[in-house]
Amino acid sequence: MVNGNRQIWPTVRLWACNTFIVFFVAMMFLDALPFAPQKLGDLVDPVQRVVGINQGSWGMFAPETDTDNFRLSAEIEYRDGTVATWSTPEWRKQSYWESFLGVREHEYLENVTELHRRAYWDQFADYIVKRHPGPRPDSDVKLVKIWKQFAEIPDLRVPVETDDEGNPLPVKWQSWVEPPEFEERSPLYGRRYY
């Protein structure tokens, strides 16, 4: 019986491996490939999430690329009337190490201000206060006002100028080394501290 078990075990292991392989590859295809049937993908999603191997499709700058740059700015008003300002860094003026180490901050600033993330905006205001080495202690903050502004990258598919005969002129390419031209900033959020 012991010898029988010893002979069975490698076969059991082999078939367990093979079953795992089949399921893993199937889940990978269903989760990652864009044309995979959604219903099947939804079926395997719970398993992937419990195990921790969910991935989704790999749409990096795709299918549509981002077409605008953003900046955030804030005013921090203290109880004695002093006002300090904060803004997102000039990304291209950062040193290599600043941009390398600041990538999580960049990710946070990009994600937190999306409209469906309003629930996080109180902490975002707190974050600005903490990050800013203000002229007064953080406990003296009365109000934080946050603005967001965009600089749209000219859409090459939409001609905006026409010649004298009304024919659309080719869109003028903005050089990639030129700084973006930002619109007027618009208010995003305000947090009052009592």
């Binding site: 491996c17 093979n18 392989i21 893993f24 990978m28 295809f29 990652a32 490939l33 864009p34 044309f35 999603d45 719970p46 999430r49 419990v50 195990v51 921790g52 191997i53 991935q55 989704g56 499709s57 790999w58 749409g59 990096m60 700058f61 795709a62 299918p63 549509e64 690329t65 981002d66 077409t67 740059n69 953003f70 990304w91 291209r92 290599y96 941009s99 390398f100 180490l101 990538v103 999580r104 901050e105 960049h106 990710e107 946070y108 994600n111 937190v112 996080y120 902490q123 975002f124 974050y127 903490k130 990258i153 090459l156 390419w173 903005q174 050089s175 990639w176 080394v177 700084p179 973006p180």
Partner: protein, 317 residues
């Protein structure tokens, strides 16, 4: 002696499967993946540490309640199961770092790799606002590393192994899965791009090059992204690379050129774009396609004590 056979001689699919997934793998490949993965995890942790409480603490940018609410019913995070305090967070972080260091050194490799994977999932789910694609790649590589014979060589496990200890042959199925995963990532990216007008009409790199928070970290020739024809060439080149590499890398004749192309692609992207460790963890994944012959050639270039040769049978490819 009882003869065992792999199956009926006519069962070519079974033999093909067995040959593809279950031939022994060169454990040096697994060790390289282990070392690369662990090193990058440690770099990631070093970048997290200065703002650890800000990103993951109970008084940080995402409260524990908000983190719980943002998770799906099947997502989990060990950090949300534990008492919420800065002390507990720091203890978890240092356990994570210690386990990653053990994976790097190959000490109790498997159990520590499991620990690293659990921490990767937990930290990722604790704050979704700072997570991006590279964290997904970290998780996937970490998961597959659990099942690899990653501590067989170039590890403290190997050093402390009793003399004469016989290890079971290292089956290559997890390396195969990592190879398939890398191919799927590229294919998925290519297929998703094909659905986007800017990628098809050749203008996508025009827009990408003007995203000043991602692009332009190192000097690049101005004309490369200011000339329509070159922009179109670069745009379509990205798609061609992402479409052809995952297919042609499987063939002996085109494997090395594909790996060289992938290396050039990732290094080139990392030079121009600020995507943190994404391209480096991808390169770790592509190492799954290295063969014993490649490693022996590399060993000839390096001093023996830095890259010991290992006598193993031919790997999966």
């Amino acid at each position: 002696m009882r003869e065992t056979t792999a199956g009926p001689p006519g069962n070519s699919l079974f033999h093909l499967w067995r040959r593809f997934f279950h031939e022994p793998v060169d454990p040096r490949v697994c060790a390289l993946i282990r070392i690369g993965f662990a090193a990058l995890v440690l770099v990631n942790l070093a970048a997290w540490y200065p703002n650890l409480d800000l990103w993951f603490g109970p008084e940080g940018v995402v409260s524990p309640q908000q983190a719980s609410d943002s998770l799906g019913p099947y997502d989990w995070s060990v950090l949300l199961w534990l008492p919420q305090s800065s002390v507990v967070l720091h203890v978890c972080f240092w356990v994570f770092a210690a386990q990653a260091a053990c994976v790097l050194l190959g000490l109790f490799t498997r159990i520590n790799t499991i620990g690293v994977f659990i921490w990767l999932v937990s930290f990722e789910h604790r704050n979704e606002l700072i997570i991006d694609s590279e964290d997904v790649v970290f998780r996937l590589v970490g998961f597959l590393l659990i099942f690899m014979p990653a501590g067989y060589v170039w590890s403290l496990d190997a050093r402390f192994r009793p003399r004469g200890a016989v290890l079971p042959p290292a089956s290559g199925w997890t390396v195969r899965l990592l190879q398939i995963q890398m191919a799927v990532i590229f294919l998925s990216a290519a297929l998703t791009k094909m659905q986007g007008e800017p990628w098809v009409d050749g203008t996508a790199m025009y827009y990408v090059a003007r995203l000043d928070d991602y692009f332009g970290r190192f000097p690049a020739p101005r004309f490369m992204f200011d000339t329509p024809a070159l922009v179109a060439l670069l745009t379509w080149s990205v798609m061609i690379v992402e479409f052809t590499v995952p297919i042609l890398v499987w063939f002996k004749e085109t494997r090395l050129p594909c790996l060289a192309l992938a290396l050039l692609f990732h290094v080139g992207c990392d030079y121009t774009m600020n995507l943190f460790l994404f391209h480096w963890i991808m390169l770790v994944g592509w190492m799954a396609f290295l063969t014993p012959h490649d490693l022996d050639r590399l060993a000839r270039l390096l001093p023996g004590r830095y890259f010991p040769r290992s006598r193993v049978s031919e790997g999966p490819i």
